[in-house]
């Protein structure tokens, strides 16, 4: 059905020039919107991966159906290369789709999205290669694949089995597209900064190169380590405080508490990039974040059950 509906657009697209970075996003938005997804905007707190957006990690809990798609900037401070590496960035974009419960034809829907952005299976070798995903920091795990297009990983495809250390009631299908990488492939460029951002001559480097230079410097040599550490501890305390407080309907303030878990997690990543985390401390920091995250996930799951 999906194929029939979009076939007009596809055939037009095949003959056109490759999508610009922003058209890639708009095409995916349009495609997933047609599949009934809520199109959300990026979450306004720094996260390391699109999965950490509450629209994925929290909404995957409980029995309530949920379909959404969004772009999420991913911040990975240690991956910064001062704008000098053609493939590595400390700030890049993921396109995240979450469908709960996973529809039976999720693979077909996914292949439809590749076709929509110009990856035709009659020309390209698309394969599903085992890759079981796990994020210990948020106690999440799932089974699925890396999707390969001509040998390049273009998407992480996962059936969530657990989140926040809890086995899920209803399985969600999660698709995470690496946008820059995918777009570099479509446009056949070797350097991320050469990507056409739009059709009007603006390059990815025009938008982000200076940002990479400054942020890399701050990540590796700039931030005040003691300040980061203090703020980490503040955030940690705030999570516990908020979880202990109640809102107008008597519910624990789990959503703001979770925001502060994300902030703590980002502060940890910054300390890590500054080289301020000793090997011995590392596990203990990760454990602290995981415990906070689990507490939020469990409270949210409990609330969802109550509301249902």
């Amino acid at each position: 059905m999906v194929r029939a509906k979009f076939s007009g657009i596809f055939s037009a697209m095949a003959s056109q020039e490759p999508l610009s970075f922003q058209d890639l996003i708009l095409t995916l938005h349009h495609y997933w919107s047609e599949q009934g997804c809520v199109i959300l905007q990026p979450y306004d707190i720094e996260v390391g991966a699109g999965t950490l957006h509450p629209a994925t990690v929290l909404r995957a809990l409980g029995r309530k159906p949920w379909k959404c798609a969004y772009v999420q900037p991913s911040r990975r401070p240690v991956d910064g290369r001062y704008g000098e590496n053609p493939n590595r960035l400390q700030h890049y974009y993921q396109y995240q789709v979450i469908l709960k419960p996973n529809p039976e034809n999720l693979q077909e829907l996914y292949l439809g999205s590749l076709k929509a952005i110009g990856l035709d299976t009659s020309l390209h070798d698309i394969r599903f290669v085992e890759d079981d995903w796990e994020n210990p920091t948020v106690g999440a795990w799932g089974l699925g694949w890396e999707v390969w297009c001509d040998g390049m990983e273009v998407t992480q495809y996962t059936y969530f089995q657990g989140v926040g250390g809890i086995e899920v009631d209803v399985v969600s299908g999660e698709l995470t597209y690496g946008l820059e990488r995918l777009c570099m492939y479509l446009q056949n460029v070797d350097n991320v900064y050469d990507l056409k951002f739009n059709k009007d001559g603006v390059k990815y480097g025009d938008v982000f190169l200076e940002n990479e230079r400054q942020q890399s410097a701050a990540n590796f040599t700039g931030y005040d380590v003691d300040g980061l550490k203090r703020r980490f501890e503040d955030m940690e305390r705030e999570v516990s405080r908020l979880l202990g407080m109640t809102g107008p309907q008597g519910q624990a303030l789990v959503l703001p508490a979770y925001d502060h878990v994300l902030k703590a997690s980002h502060l940890f990543n910054l300390m890590d990039a500054r080289g301020a985390i000793a090997v011995a401390e590392r596990q203990s920091y990760i454990g602290r974040i995981r415990d906070l995250c689990k507490a939020c996930a469990q409270e949210w799951a409990r609330q969802e059950e109550e509301r249902a």
């Binding site: 698309i126 394969r127 399985v171 492939y185 000793a278 090997v279």
Partner: protein, 686 residues
């Protein structure tokens, strides 16, 4: 005879699980059939990325009707007994027959249609399927390796009614994801199923896909004057990633050929699942690779080639970066420093502490292997440094190999570079043992530290669980000891570990407990190793009845005993011992046997005196031969006793009335047995 055909179609099954799943399907379904009394001619499972299929040939349409006879009460038994029996068999008394005074019930069991029992079997097999990892999908609680999409279930051409999680079994399957129309099509037996799939670009048989890949991959290499570097593991994996494999020769930027071939090959294999290619003329790695695509692209594969080459370039560029960084001067010191921050195991301390232990062990072992202790300790100190290198961080399987390259680049002596390269060997039964004395010393020290360390913190292998591969370590140690004819005491080695334990390990157990367990562990491994070599297990058991911590000596004794038994005098050597041991065993049941040496008793018959005399000289002969480690001659010399032992036992009554005479004769027999005791317990040989 009817045929059963099942296909379970799913989303992509992980390649590494496919062959195991086929074996399990065959085994489990076969067991179900057998348990229901159904015979068949053959059973075979097929597996690919999106399907697991089974075909059973030669099943009966139905099982034959059988008449079962059940014996009831005797004629004239109380009425209650008869009533109970009738209830049990569900008959009335007029349906029974009386035979030889006993009531008999004949129960007719009608034949059962095979088709009726198949669905229950399939349900059991699916629900209990031993996937290494399985998942739930959507709102269902059913678990399968990935979502199950369709079930084909045919017996004798008919669909067997079956439903699971809303999937109703039918007679349809579907072809290749991209190369077929995607429309399901019907089949009526295995031949039409296999042909239907082939027509829709699916090669069903894993083995056939492997053959196709190998064949076509070799062909594309040939055209470019190259040859494929065989890799069976990769071949199996790739055959699990394709329904319609299409090997394509890709081009690699020749500048990457400056990288060590292992790096190129590993990068191709682990990240990209490409085959490496070598130049036919030079035998060296060529600037090509083979991709196995799962599709016939409409442009002949040009886009696929371009894309894959681009990805490989990015991967190998990383490789060049790591290689350059790792080759900078002074890196070994920096890496060793970093090992101080790397945990080996929480209870065994850091990697640097492990290096200290290995170094101390190497110093101890070196003289025993005639290796220069100074060189061996330096090699041990550097052996683990590459674990902190960038390349090994990316490709852990290149540990040792990279260290060897970096040592060469740093102009370290060849012995040291080789030891770094080879000290993980042997990594399995197919791998070779390091040949140089320095390499062997470091290899032993490394494995001893692993083995003793984990035993010391009570992390021993249990059953099928051996997370630290300690069995492999022990087998490796045994092979090195044997191939280097290394004479050393395992007890002393364990002692040396404890003497150099350092500050890393926490909460280690008593050395004495650990030593005993390790000796038993080695003895068990040795048994396994020798049995796999096809050695006589009685001989192994006879020698291992003596505790001995010098494994080379143990193996030497097993060899010697084996040779003696195969020699013409072998039976003579054994016979003397056997006759003596049999009598001693019988007499031992009557009470404790007398201890001490037999003496010349007044009036003793000549045959007794002759045996006493011979034993005196024989004892010295054997002791001298054993001291010279000439076990073979020592055991063979036992044959000389046979004549006198036979004459003695045929000529006298051991169990004499006179207690002193009896005791003396028993002592004499015990002395016969004692001759071979230091070597083996010969009574274990039938």
């Amino acid at each position: 005879m009817p045929q059963l055909l099942i296909e379970l179609q799913s989303e992509e099954i992980p390649a590494r699980m496919q062959l195991g799943a086929a074996r399990d399907f065959e085994r489990l379904f076969g067991a179900k059939l057998t348990a229901s009394g159904l015979t068949y001619d053959s059973i075979k499972a097929y597996v690919g990325p999106r399907r697991l299929a089974l075909v059973v040939e030669g099943l009966p349409v139905e099982t034959a009707a059988v008449t079962e006879e059940v014996k009831g009460p005797k004629e004239g038994a109380p009425e209650q007994a008869m009533a109970g029996f009738l209830r049990k068999v569900g008959l009335t008394q007029d349906q029974l027959t009386l035979e030889n005074g006993v009531w008999l019930a004949r129960i007719e069991k009608p034949g059962r249609k095979t088709a009726d029992s198949l669905s229950g079997m399939l349900m059991d097999v699916i629900l209990g399927f031993p996937w290494p990892k399985s998942m739930r999908s959507g709102t269902s609680s059913f678990r399968w390796v990935r979502p199950l999409k369709r079930i084909l279930f045919l017996f004798d051409g008919q669909v067997i009614p079956f439903e699971l999680e809303g999937l109703v079994a039918g007679n349809q399957t579907v072809g290749h994801r991209y190369l077929s129309s995607g429309e399901p099509f019907a089949v009526n037996d295995f031949a039409s199923y296999q042909k239907g799939l082939a027509d829709n670009s699916v090669i069903l048989d894993h083995a056939e896909r492997q053959a196709v890949i190998l064949d076509k991959a070799r062909a594309v290499c040939d055209v470019a004057g190259c040859e494929l570097m065989d890799d069976q593991g990769l071949l199996e994996e790739v055959a699990g990633l394709n329904e319609w494999p299409v090997p394509i020769l890709g081009d690699m930027d020749p500048r990457f050929l400056t990288l060590p071939p292992e790096v190129i090959k590993t990068s191709m294999r682990t990240h990209q699942k490409y085959f490496a290619v070598r130049d036919k003329a030079t035998g060296k790695m060529a600037a090509h690779f083979v991709i196995v695509a799962n599709t016939r692209a409409v442009d002949g594969g040009e886009e696929i080639k371009r894309g894959n080459a681009k990805v490989l370039s990015a991967r190998l560029s990383d490789g060049v970066f790591f290689w350059t960084e790792d080759n900078k001067a002074g890196n070994f010191d920096g890496w060793l420093e970093r090992l101080k921050g790397t945990t080996f195991h929480v209870k065994l301390g850091t990697m640097a502490q492990r290096v200290e232990r290995i170094t101390a062990l190497a110093k101890y072992i070196a003289p025993l292997l005639k290796a220069d202790p100074a060189v061996a300790t330096e090699a041990a100190r550097l052996a683990k440094a590459d674990l902190a290198s960038k390349m090994v961080g990316e490709f852990p399987e290149l540990q040792g190999v990279m260290g060897g390259y970096y040592a060469d680049a740093a102009k370290l002596p060849a012995d040291i570079a080789n030891a770094i390269r080879e000290h993980y060997k042997p990594q399995g039964p197919g791998d070779t043992v390091p040949t140089g004395a320095i390499s062997a010393t470091v290899a032993l020290a490394d494995k001893i530290d692993t083995l003793v360390g984990f035993f010391a913190i009570d992390e021993k292998p249990t059953g099928s669980k051996d997370p630290y591969a300690l069995r492999r370590s022990a087998l490796g140690i045994l092979r090195i000891l044997r191939e280097h004819n290394a004479r050393l005491s395992l007890t002393a080695l364990v002692k040396a570990w404890f003497a150099n334990v350092g500050s890393g390990p926490q909460g280690v157990r008593q050395a004495a407990d650990v030593t005993g367990e390790i000796l038993d562990f080695f003895t068990d491994r040795l048994k396994v190793q020798l049995r796999e070599d096809g050695r006589n297990h009685e001989v192994i058991d006879a020698v291992l009845a003596n505790k001995d911590d010098d494994m080379v000596r143990v193996v030497g004794r097993i060899d010697a005993l084996d040779r003696v038994l195969q020699s013409p005098q072998g039976q003579d050597a054994l016979a003397a011992h056997k006759r003596a041991a049999n009598i001693l065993a019988a007499e031992a049941k009557k009470g404790a046997l007398p201890q001490g040496e037999a003496e010349v008793q007044p009036g003793a018959p000549d045959v007794e005196l002759a045996l006493i005399q011979q034993l005196k000289t024989q004892k010295g002969v054997i002791e001298n031969l054993l001291n010279a480690e000439n076990t073979y001659e020592a055991l063979l010399s036992l044959a000389a006793l046979r004549q006198n032992v036979d004459a003695f036992l045929d000529g006298v009554l051991v169990n004499a009335d006179d207690a002193a005479v009896r005791a003396n004769r028993l002592k004499l027999l015990a002395q016969v047995c004692a001759l071979s005791a230091p070597v083996a317990d010969l009574s274990r040989i039938a």
